[in-house]
């Protein structure tokens, strides 16, 4: 099934995208919707708007796979309309739709079995955008939402229920279809509500690195969705922090600054990971060093920051990755508020505890945090 194969190529980063440079608008065309994605107050979010595969599908498939590609190109004709796909009459393309559905199911299962949930969800999203009826796809999502994990999931995709912010099918489906998926140039600053699903490099002369990005920014009923993008999972790049070491290694230099990925976050501290490509941190005794750490909370203009202490460090592999455990030192209430926002799950209870702690400061109860 051609369409599915292309999706798989896309998700494995193997897809070459010569069509990019053919686009008139150049860059803009590469990141449809990206502009709005970052503007603060853009009102209700449209359904999947980009259908990044669609251009490909129509360009590269020689119309041999009629149902798939015609639907896919249809989708780019009607971007942003509320229900552009699901309801198309399927009497003509019934048989191929059902075989497509089976292929989708298999593909989703396949990714899910490898815990590659973002890819599994992306397949669903692509399938929905290319016209497979919601009713057929929802049961597949339902299965995905069931997935719970007790294993250590370090470095893996967030669970579908975490990522979509809810275990409930209706909401999850709505989030899935309203979020955006787009192919953008792979640049360091993508924003903290971006999740990189796949990365690849365009085989053209400029060898542009690209990323398939999922913008988890859907708001429903005027509210930001609960966990979803705010879940600080252990996936890279969804949340970066700016860190400055206090005290100077060399009195003539300014403070050492670096950016780090947040790999773990609690109201007490954070686990961060730094790529020390230029060995700037080499030779510095990092443990017990005081730092200032700043993070961006989606939806807030100003980053939040606090003093912190590096409690432990660990060199990772032979690359120059350094992991650190940071403890927040005397965080201000605003900082704690921001952190509470970033944390998933029972945000209200978490938030309540944080407020109790910062206002009344009953340290003896801190053990109850989270499971309260």
């Amino acid at each position: 099934m051609k369409l599915i194969d292309e999706w798989k190529q896309l998700l494995s980063g193997e897809l070459d995208r010569p069509a990019w440079r053919d686009e008139e608008d150049g860059r803009e065309a590469l990141m449809p919707g990206a502009e709005e994605s970052h503007s603060a107050n853009s009102g209700p979010v449209d359904t999947f708007q980009d259908a990044p595969d669609s251009a490909d599908a129509s360009d590269s498939s020689d119309s041999s796979d009629t149902s798939g590609s015609s639907n896919a190109s249809g989708s780019s004709d009607a971007p942003g309309s509320p229900e552009p796909y699901g309801s198309s009459d399927s009497s003509e393309n019934g048989p191929s739709a059902s075989s497509l559905l089976r292929a989708v199911e298999r593909c989703v299962d396949d990714y899910a079995s490898r815990s590659e949930y973002l890819k599994a969800l992306s397949i669903l999203k692509l399938a929905s955008a290319s016209g497979l009826p919601d009713d057929c796809l929802k049961p597949v999502l339902k299965e995905l939402l069931r997935v719970q994990s007790s294993r250590n999931r370090d470095g893996q995709d967030p669970l579908p229920r975490e990522f979509l912010g809810t275990p409930r099918l209706h909401i999850a489906w709505s989030v899935l279809t309203r979020d955006r998926l787009a192919i953008v140039p792979d640049e360091p600053i993508l924003g903290s509500d971006c999740w990189i699903v796949a990365r690849g490099t365009d085989v053209g002369p400029t060898a542009t690195p690209w990323a398939l990005v999922w913008w988890g920014r859907t708001e429903v009923a005027g509210k930001v969705r609960p966990a979803g993008r705010r879940t600080v999972s252990r996936r890279k790049l969804e949340l970066t922090a700016a860190v400055a070491l206090l005290g100077r290694a060399n009195p003539r230099q300014g403070p050492t600054r670096f950016t780090a990925q947040i790999t773990d976050l609690t109201p007490r501290g954070a686990g961060i990971e730094v790529k020390d490509r230029f060995d700037r941190l080499h030779g510095i005794q990092l443990k017990d060093k005081k730092i200032r750490i700043a993070l961006c909370v989606p939806g807030r203009g100003e980053p939040i920051s606090t003093l912190g202490l590096i409690c432990w460090t660990e060199e990772k592999g032979d690359e120059r990755d350094i992991r650190m455990g940071i403890k927040f030192v005397d965080p201000m209430p605003e900082f704690m508020e921001g952190v509470a926002e970033l944390l998933s799950g029972r945000r209200d209870v978490q938030y309540l505890w944080n407020l109790i702690e910062s206002n009344i400061g009953q340290a003896e109860n801190t053990g109850k945090l989270g499971n309260a």
Binding site: I171, V220, A221, R346, V349
Partner: protein, 314 residues
């Protein structure tokens, strides 16, 4: 569910032993002193003890008599107390099954409460968030939640408010496809909504038609907060803390009605509870004095509510 009259105040707290009953008695005392007829109703249907605080060891009639239809109206149950202008309808605890009245019994009770001729009806509710407690609480136009600065009490108070919120929303969902959404039996399911936000999302997506009604219900849910047993000024902040969380996560405004200090005299008296000495023994302490201010506010608010039914001051 029918509403209780405008002069009804329901006092709840989520956690046991936070001082709901003592506070109810103190407030009733002051409202009585302010020349109002006050009726106390022990709404702790499982563990009534208000009568003990008012010096009545074994009340000769209790609310059970009404529920079992031994008396036709609640007026027959009014007991004199040692406090001027304060009467009591004692709670029963001898028939355990009545701790959990059915819908018909509850409706009849609420109707009868409407019929009591009094200036203030104060309903002291039991601890916990049982459906009966929630329903009585929601039926009262004036709602009071008592908490102490203890973190567990703060959390239980918030939990109670949230449970009331869920209960209210679930009533708005009756007859819709989401009517089981907040069924307590289902709330433990893995897919059950965990926050008000999720509930509203689901309503917005699945039953958008029901949303305006639910939003209106939520907007009308006004809860007053009293912080009891405050031992240090910073502990007064728990009121605003709970308000903030309610505003943010339940989209609901709460009003801080006042703080009552921890008062050793109150505690001492509570250990004995001899009939005549409630006022004498606790008059010197800060708790009774602080409850005067609160009683005064309650009187003001009730008056305002009575005259301009919908207008609410502050």
């Amino acid at each position: 569910m029918i509403q209780l009259p405008n002069h009804t105040w329901a006092i709840a707290g989520g956690k046991g032993g936070v001082g709901k009953s003592l506070l109810t008695v103190s407030l009733a005392y002051w409202l009585g002193r302010l020349k109002n007829d006050v009726t106390l109703l022990d709404g702790d249907l499982g563990g009534a003890n208000l009568h003990t605080m008012l010096g009545l060891r074994i009340p000769h009639c209790t609310i059970d008599d009404f529920i079992l239809r031994r008396v036709p109206s609640l007026d027959h149950l009014l007991l004199e107390t040692a406090l001027p202008n304060v009467k009591l309808i004692a709670g029963g605890s001898d028939v355990p099954a009545l701790a959990n009245p059915n819908f018909g019994q509850k409706t009849r009770l609420v109707r009868a409460m409407n019929a009591i001729d009094t200036d203030f009806l104060m309903v002291d509710l039991g601890a916990g968030s049982s459906l009966n407690t929630l329903d009585l609480f929601l039926a009262a136009p004036n709602k009071l939640v008592v908490l102490t600065p203890q973190p567990t009490s703060i959390q239980n108070a918030y939990g109670f408010i949230k449970a009331a919120f869920f209960r209210l929303v679930s009533r708005g969902l009756r007859g819709t496809s989401l009517q089981d959404l907040l069924d307590p039996a289902n709330l433990r399911d893995e897919g059950a909504p965990q926050s008000a936000e999720e509930v509203l999302q689901e309503v917005a997506i699945t039953e958008p038609g029901a949303l305006p009604d639910i939003e209106e219900r939520v907007a009308n849910l006004k809860i007053h907060i009293i912080v009891n047993m405050v031992r240090a000024p910073k502990e007064e902040r728990v009121g605003p803390v709970v308000s903030e969380v309610c505003r943010r996560f339940l989209g609901m405004e709460t009003t801080l009605l006042g703080c009552v200090p921890y008062d050793p005299q109150m505690e001492k008296w509570a250990a004995v509870m001899d009939r005549e000495s409630f006022v004498n023994r606790t008059a010197e302490g800060g708790a009774l004095r602080a409850s005067y201010d609160i009683a005064y506010r309650i009187a003001e608010r009730t008056k305002n509510k009575d005259s301009t039914a919908t207008k609410w001051i502050a």
